[in-house]
Amino acid sequence: MIEIRGLKKRFGKLHVLEEVNLTIGKGTLTAIVGPNGSGKTTLIKSLLGLVHIDRGEITIDGRKVNGDCAYRKEIGYMPQIARYPENLKVRELLGMLKDLRGVREGLDEELVEQLEIGREMEKPLRTLSGGTRQKVGAVIAFLFNPKLMILDEPTAALDPVSSSRLKDKIVAENRKGKTVLLTSHNMNEIEELSEQIVFLLEGRIYFQGLIADLKRQSGEQNLERAVAALMRGARP
Amino acid sequence: MQSSMTTRHRLGNGLLAGLVVLPLVLPAAAAQGALFPPGPVREIVVGKDRPIKSIKDGVRIASSGDRILVRKGSYSEGNIVIDKPLTILGEGLPQVDGGGKDEIFTVRADNVTIRGLLIKNAGVSFMHDNAAVKIDGARNCIIEGNRFSNDFFAVYLAKATGCTVSGNRISGNGKAEATSGNGIHLWHCSDVKVSGNYVTDQRDGIYIEFSNRVLIEGNQSEKNLRYGLHFMFSNSCRYLNNRFTQNGAGVAVMYSKNVEMRGNRFEKNWGPASYGLLLKDMQQSRIAGNTLAGNTIGIYSEGSFGMTVEQNTFSRNGVGIKLLGSSTDNRFTRNNFLGNSFDVATNSSETQNRFEGNYWDNYQGYDLNKDGIGDVPYRPVRLFSMLITDYPQSLILLRSLFIDVLDLAERAFPVLTPEALVDRRPLMRRVCID
């Protein structure tokens, strides 16, 4: 699904991504982990074309990411902090996205019900709490039945009920054959959701593979400890 | 238009009416009538199908006081000298053509009336002031209801007294100042009345020099090459209800005193050397109730003193009044200043003129005691207008916020602008001018 070859990205003098090579298979559910500033968000933004890469090549579903925007039809993105035009109502926002994409059918609006935002539909976005906005973000990510979903800290601001419903939804979609790429700081969540893990530190990939393999390599039972061990090992 | 209708009307009423109306037009003519007792008046008819075919023949056989009726047609006879008191009347607007060479009528006798002719193509000359009608040293002549077309000079009065020039329509060749003469030209005249004429495309519309007690009333002078009205060394004259529009250099009045200018309109005279009204070395005169609108400079005053300028309206001029330092003891009261780019400009940091009780639409003061007079004095001279005098190119910054700030500062603490040039009693409402 995703092929990254020799990706490099610098912001000024800061090398954010250094020689990233990564393959994400179709239908997998992969978590990207790494400490703050390790380049997770930049990597995601490179996939979305939000960030222009300096060197290397990214292919998504056989299409090269190079400025043309059509490939993003197949991507659902949920940003970490969701902010929207303040005076628009939720319904209008969703309407606008449908309008922009020109899609009216085959929409997946399950989450509207599951996350209980039906009664928020007529409220202006500025009146919504951070958590509710996050839910709106989730709805948007799933709305168009994308083949690839990129979720940046999807559950960070959600209450336990919504969080678990969203996780159920992620797993269900993955089972249907959708590719999911997510980031999280919550290792339990990652263990619960995904099989594949990518460990990123200072712009380099230190591990990519099954969670089980990572645990085995590090000799730890628990993912959090395994990742911590990986970090210690990576730092000189 | 109106004057030609009047002419036709009078023609229709024939001889008797003409004689009755004449003394009314100019009271002086009545007095003259006593000197030349009306004998049996003969009427000589000139026409192409008549025994007398030329105006010259008509004049030759006529005796004093006769009337020559010129029938419709075209007459090209070179210079026609009129040396006895005659009335020459056109019927159906006959054309008298100078062929571009000669002066056409030269009047050397008193009590001559010329009416209802189209007199055209008086010759351009660099030696002689050829005119369509020249009155040379005569008295009590009337030039009325004629049309003048493409003449060098149209009506030229030299050393004439008690004459009337009225209701004529004068249109020159309008090419260049050198090859155009003046529309109505008065030189060493007195007690002349010029009224209801229309002059265009001449060098100066109306030109007056060394003449006294002239009344200029209800004329319209527009699109002349140089001045709409130009007078010098002419005292005790009155200029009433005339209209001067879009003349090359506007109106210039110079070296005269006891002049009254009232109810005139000076409009749209544009150009670096163009003025609604240029006053040079004028004395003890009165300019009242005039409208000066859309001129580059409304009134330009140089070396004038003792002038009273009141109840005039200055609107949408580049500069309402440009008052040079050489002008002293002039009084400006009860004028309206509306929408001028600059109300008053000067070249001096001092002034000995008085501005009092004018309405300035740029005035931003208040009137707490409600007496109709602003409680804060108004300084009509902007710093920027002085800047432009020294640095003309800065004109392009007109209406800039930066310039407004500078002006504001200067108004608060005058340094460059004349401190004495101030209206201490600015009006809160426009002056009603009837």
Partner: protein, 263 residues
């Protein structure tokens, strides 16, 4: 293009609900109305309004444009994750801010015109110039604000730079021009001065206004270049073209920065 319009439409709906714009509209309405009531004379009202327009519109447009852009950064990211071209998005943002501003300006001033129709009719060309100049200035300064905001990550810095731009264009620039006039008075300055005026959109708008209200004064200048510029319809044509050029150039520059930007 269709994307731009769609985006713009939603933004329009978004902004039209903000009280801000009503205040803006109300301000213009009240000022215009008050000017008609207390000043009366149509052309005088037009001149006062012009001064106000030259001052307020660039200020509000830059400030609102900058804040709006910073306020919608996350929304921009969301939009960029959709299959939408960056150019369309930028255009949509730009129009989405400037059109509501223009509309509320027009509504405010135009609303007052309805009450004072007869005075407006007398000076119709002047009032139309006023509306056009106001609208074009809004576009230019919103585009400029976006350009600044796109190239500056930090909000405070971006706002500062926008404000500086406004200050330069509306006041400082003319001060420098005046300084140049005084320093180089002996040189032929007309052409450079005209060019300098063209390089500042507020000056350009001001020149348009001069052409409407101060032709009498302008004709008093002897220089041939000014005479030709101010005395013919060339002046108006050049000034209008340059104003449009300004809005197009600022917009294109902003768009290209936006296209190259990392979010």
């Amino acid at each position: 293009m269709r994307e731009t319009l769609k985006l713009g439409r939603y933004q329009l709906r978004d902004l039209m609900r903000s009280k801000w714009l009503f205040a803006y509209s109300g301000f213009f309405f009240l000022v215009t109305f008050a000017l008609f009531r207390f000043v009366g004379d149509g052309s005088k009202v037009a001149v006062s309004l012009m001064n106000l327009v030259l001052f307020i519109i660039p200020l509000v447009s830059t400030m609102l444009g900058t804040t709006y852009y910073y306020g919608s950064r996350e929304f921009v990211e969301l939009m960029l994750a959709q299959p939408i071209k960056r150019g369309s998005l930028f255009a949509g943002l730009c129009l989405g801010v400037s059109i509501p501003l223009v509309l509320s300006f027009l509504a405010g001033v135009g609303g007052a015109f309805l009450f004072c129709g007869s005075e407006v009719a007398q000076d119709l060309p002047a009032f139309l110039t006023l509306l056009v100049v106001g609208a074009v200035l809004t576009f230019i300064f919103v585009a400029l604000a976006f350009l600044v905001a796109v190239t500056n990550k930090d909000k405070a810095r971006g706002l500062g730079i926008s404000l500086l731009f406004w200050l330069v264009f509306s006041v400082i620039y003319d001060g420098l021009v005046l300084l140049a006039v005084v320093c180089f008075a002996d040189y032929p300055l007309e052409m450079p001065l005209l060019i300098l005026s063209i390089l500042n959109p507020i000056d350009l708008a001001r020149v348009l206004i001069l052409l409407k209200f101060d032709v009498s004064a302008l004709m008093g200048y002897t220089g041939a270049v000014f005479q030709q510029f101010f005395g013919s319809s060339w002046g108006i044509a050049i000034a209008l073209t340059s104003l449009v050029g300004w809005s197009v150039l600022t917009f294109i520059l902003g768009r290209s920065c936006f296209a190259r930007k990392d979010f």
